[in-house]
Amino acid sequence: MGRAAAAPRLGRLERAAVQGVLVREIINYSSFWRSSTFSSTIDPTIYLLAFGFGFGTLVSEVAGYDYIDFVGTGIVATTVLFSGAFPAMYGTFVKYQFQHTYDAIIAAPVDTEELVTGEALWIAARTGVYGCVPMLVAVVFGLDPSFGMLLVPFIAALAGFGWATFGIFIAGRAKSIESFSYWQSGLLTPMFLVAGTFFPLDELPTWAQVLGNINPLYHCVELVRHAVFGFEGWEDVGHVAFLVAFAFVSWRLAIRFMERRLIL
């Protein structure tokens, strides 16, 4: 007895714990990277080609950009959604509900906060890489390479962290995997379309523009476009600030709801 008084209490968000969660993901990834990479990069590439060639024949220029340049940069946000939010939603639900993986992890010296953070960091890192794939495909189809593109993985990773934690939050609230349909159809699909990826928001009615402005994907799209074609000063600081705020709020929500789920 008396040990509790002597030992320093282990802190929050310890590197060792977050790292342990990441190692688990990385080792697991070695067994399913093919399917994961396929689904995360092929979908956006299909959208890119469909819109690029489909609309591209009808419109040559949008908002002052060649259409391939417009879609080729905006498409990064689509990948962010597909490889950030969706794997987080389904992966989290499967891991706590069916595989009971999280029960094993939090029985080790890992707290829910560290678990959620590690999972989201890993998804964010993957999103940063995957986010560039459709843009590189667009380069093949005429998007000019630029040094600004080197910043795109970081933008995609930042947005990816926000969407990953948002996905974990959805999973933490979900009673069944079927309830994801409400989130997908009611929130994620509209956001995916009204993000300025395929058409600019300027021409839309005011209410749609307002909605667009509270859509994190829109801020991601704008930031990627400006990184590639030239930053716009304070406006881009605002976009970064929005993405950071979105990531922070989603992160805290994800932790809170996962704690309710995992700690009875």
Binding site: M1, G2, R3, A4, A7, R9, L10, A16, A17, Q19, G20, V21, V23, R24, I27, N28, S31, F32, Q99, H100, T101, D103, A104, I105, I106, A107, A108, P109, V110, D111, L262, I263, L264
Partner: protein, 298 residues
């Protein structure tokens, strides 16, 4: 001065809505001993086990694990104990060795010692030859051994085993008993929940029998049996009509009875074997449990 305790619970209460799963539980696990937590499904065993890792937060009471107060210091406690869950939560698409490597990281085994820790765990669980096999390819017994090995990577001072042999066939169960016995002899403190009476009788120095969230009896298995069930029970076999008659007779004499499939056990009726035309047999913990709670344990 009492011996140091690996686990000390006092008056622990946990409610889930209207249900009180644990209802004022006291529990001691002295260092270096194996203690069994016995009870039927729904007695509160699993809730108690989860409270020890702070996956359940008690509403009332004091919990101390390895000297650390819970839930405030649960992370330190978790760092120094191993947990073998009732539900298999291995990563099934990974190999045996990969599963161990993941948990060597999660349990913070220092980089220079990870390989050695994994080898030792593989050896303990006798899985060295299957190290490259995916978990999917393992038998139920091997998976359970791997779960135990996973909980031992960091050489914990305390091991929590939640129903370690449930669903395994008798031969595999005995293999696991040998493994648990070996750990105990190495000085690891063990708390094991089980509803297999034989398991507790063989492995545990002390048992706590739980019913409806409370400890109804605490002590060494033999002492509990001697105290509550007496030296022998009488087992009467016969037709359903005969069994019914015997039950009636036992009621008249104030003896306690238990239906055990095709027979009736009469407890605390020493020397009445001839009268009842039954066979004396050695009493066991199951008899104690029935006497104390009126419930069958499994």
């Amino acid at each position: 001065m009492s011996a140091e305790l690996a686990i000390r619970l006092r008056g622990v209460v946990k409610r889930f809505g209207a249900l009180t799963a644990v209802d004022g539980l006291d529990l001691d696990v002295p260092v270096g001993t194996c203690v069994g937590l016995l009870g039927p499904n729904g007695a509160g065993k699993s809730t108690t086990m989860k409270a020890l890792t702070a996956q359940v937060i008690a509403d009332e009471g004091e919990l101390e694990v390895l000297g650390y107060r819970l839930p405030e210091y649960s992370k330190q406690a978790r760092a120094e104990m191993g947990v073998v869950p009732q539900l298999d939560n291995l990563d099934t698409s990974l190999t045996v060795e990969q599963n161990l490597r993941v948990f060597a990281h999660l349990y913070r085994v220092p980089a220079g010692h990870r390989k050695e820790a994994i080898e030792r765990a593989l050896g303990l669980a006798n899985l060295g030859e299957r190290r490259a096999a995916k978990v999917d390819e393992l038998s139920g017994g091997m998976r359970r051994r791997l779960l135990i090995a996973r909980g031992l990577l960091h050489q914990p001072r305390l091991l929590l085993l939640d129903e370690p042999t449930v669903g395994l066939d008798p031969q595999v169960r005995q293999e696991l008993w040998a493994l648990i016995d070996r750990l105990r002899s190495e000085g690891v403190s063990i708390l094991m929940s089980t509803h297999y009476i034989e398991e507790a009788e063989r492995l545990c120095e002390q048992v706590t029998i739980m019913s409806h969230g409370k400890a109804v009896a605490v002590g060494p298995p033999r002492a509990l049996i001697a105290e509550h069930a007496g030296p022998e029970a009488i087992e009467v076999y016969g037709s359903p009509t005969r069994l019914h008659e015997v039950e009636g007779l036992a009621r008249e004499r104030g003896w306690r009875t238990r239906r055990t499939g095709t027979s009736i056990s009469i407890l605390q009726a020493n020397g009445a074997a001839a009268e009842l035309d039954g066979e004396p047999r050695v009493t066991n913990l199951e008899d104690v449990f029935v006497l104390l709670t009126g419930e069958e344990i499994s």
